[in-house]
Symmetry: C2
Subunit: 350 residues, 2 copies
């Protein structure tokens, strides 16, 4: 493969290309160059730098939590985040809502031939800073390259390992009658921010994705409300999917109150304009908590005191009858059943 | 989204589509249907079936090995394997050559709208049977769907966790002067089998990919040759990349002998026809072992007694001078330096 065909010459010393070429995924010298020049420059951890076939981690005390997520968001960069921040935060949050302390991440990249290396560097730098913010170490990775038109810029898959502290048993099936339903902040910010970037929408203020790692918010919450029953991060499928899953798994019903849902005015406006239901819109830096009534005020106070929980609100409660059902009391006082969407109102949102 | 637009009606009761549609990645009811109908039907493990945000695993004793790999092989199905078998074996093998016992896998799927569900089922069934063969449990997963033309059928990312037994310290940097260099069988089978399928080549016999999980072969080898210094699976970049990496990391030279390389006649013929160097062709069920001379015969005997090591051979030795260099004595007695390719002679091979 010659540099004339596959990418313009780049003036940075030692770098042959300014774009991703197929050879960057070949396992030869160009793969090494990409690894050392882009990935290892950002992730200087000892474990990754050893370049063995597997990372070997220190002995971990406790049960392990293990989760994986693929990220295909379009566009790659959006107000408040990018696919890199999303990929780190998304997996960290899946560990955090399982009650685990997130520790280690792996990242696999599927890159499209022609992706600008400067865009890849922005993504990798964003992963580095988000990992640092979340207190996790990226210890293993892989990169493949597919031909132009066979992918869409970049897809990223992150997988995380955490440790669940002794005695912690959060579960989607543990909600009980009388529990309070809390959310940690405004709903729909991520989905509407990505939609707005995609559609070229302008708001009076810039609406940003809420994309953030939630491990420290979960710690703060569980310290003040240790009997919390269940946590979920309402991403794809939105709050509706999270609540329906909790109601079904716990064999309870959940009633929420539209007037209590924290919403930014831009999100409210976009929902009206596009006919979107905010309950189905993805969030990437929010959690829903099912907390015994006795600890609900403490849980809310803990979230209000945390930068990522300032707009936390109590939005409903759990009841025993009509197991599996979620209902919404609308602002005009009617009650409607909340269901999961069949498909997705906003594809490629995460 | 209506079923008329997005996929033909399928007669299997309860299944709305015969192809992947965008809604299958939406996190709503269609995602649930795909999860239950395709993934959970194959992977009935308790951990996966709990459907929490993270799998919570039993306490593991020992140091953890952790590795991830993205698979973008084209075509998805080839003689001797498919992307599913490749994705399980590839990650299992990265754990095995680190000396770890592979235990748990996660799998993330990026599917192209329009992929036949029967093809997805074949892939998933192949993952199930390969995981069973390797003694690993698939405990976590994720599926995203991108629009037609934004991916190439299916990409699969697997991530694995294993445990490294006490006292085992295999390392790419541990090769020493005088060690023997062994390979576990014929070289180039995977790469040539995929190339042949892609190019419509016919051999007199069907050449099959060697794609297989190697954990039990590694166990057999290490039992008889416990002082083994380093193991690698020569995938992308082929034997050349593995040997160059070992020579560089261990600050030694490696000399191999062309006459000793085990090769199938079809692979030899394809290399001549296409001008390929077998040292750069990917293998997916082979390992290279660096073993002290005192245990080399025992290591070979252990591999010969295992179904995946019947054609194992001693191909060279490690020396101290000219650190980092790999040389090949050709069949006519000349010596040439073996280097890594810059890019890749066969893109999308794994």
């Amino acid at each position: 493969m010659s540099s004339d065909d596959d990418g313009a010459w780049c003036p940075i010393p030692g770098r042959q290309y300014d774009r991703v070429v197929l050879g960057h995924g070949g396992g030869g010298l160009l793969s090494d160059e990409l690894l050392r020049d882009v990935f290892l420059r950002a992730f200087r951890g000892d474990t990754l730098a050893k370049l063995e076939d597997s990372a070997v981690l220190p002995r971990l005390a406790g049960r392990l939590a293990f989760t994986t997520d693929a990220f295909v968001v379009h566009p790659l960069f959006f107000p408040g985040g990018d696919i890199g921040r999303l990929a780190v935060a998304g997996t960290v949050n899946d560990l955090a809502v399982a009650g685990a302390k997130p520790l280690y991440l792996s990242a696999a990249f599927i890159l499209e031939e022609g992706l600008l290396l400067t865009d890849l560097e922005r993504i990798v730098e964003s992963m580095r800073s988000t990992a640092q913010e979340a207190g996790v170490e990226l210890v293993a990775g892989d990169t493949k390259v597919v031909e132009r038109g066979k992918a869409d810029g970049a897809f990223v898959v992150t997988t995380g390992i955490g440790v669940v502290p002794e005695g912690r048993t959060l579960s989607v099936s543990a909600a009980e009658e009388g529990n309070a339903v809390l959310v940690s902040g405004t709903l729909g910010d991520h989905g509407v921010a990505v939609l707005a970037r995609r559609e070229g929408l302008e708001f009076e203020t810039t609406l940003e994705s809420d994309c953030a790692p939630l491990a420290s918010l979960v710690d703060a919450l569980l310290e003040r409300a240790p009997s919390t029953r269940a946590l979920r991060d309402p991403t794809r499928g939105g709050l509706a999917s999270s609540l329906v899953e909790i109601a079904a798994a716990s064999r309870v019903s959940i009633a929420i109150d539209e007037a209590q849902l924290p919403l930014r005015p831009e999100v409210r406006a976009a929902c009206e304009l596009f006919g979107l239901d905010v309950l189905h819109i993805a969030n990437e830096g929010k959690l829903v908590a099912i907390v015994p009534e006795s600890e609900a005020d403490a849980a809310l106070a803990a979230m209000h005191a945390h930068p990522l929980g300032r707009n936390a609100a109590r939005i409903g409660k759990v009841a025993a009858e009509r197991a599996g059902q979620v209902t919404l009391r609308t602002s005009i006082g009617a009650v409607r059943v909340v269901t999961q969407l069949s498909g997705e109102q906003l594809p490629r949102i995460c």
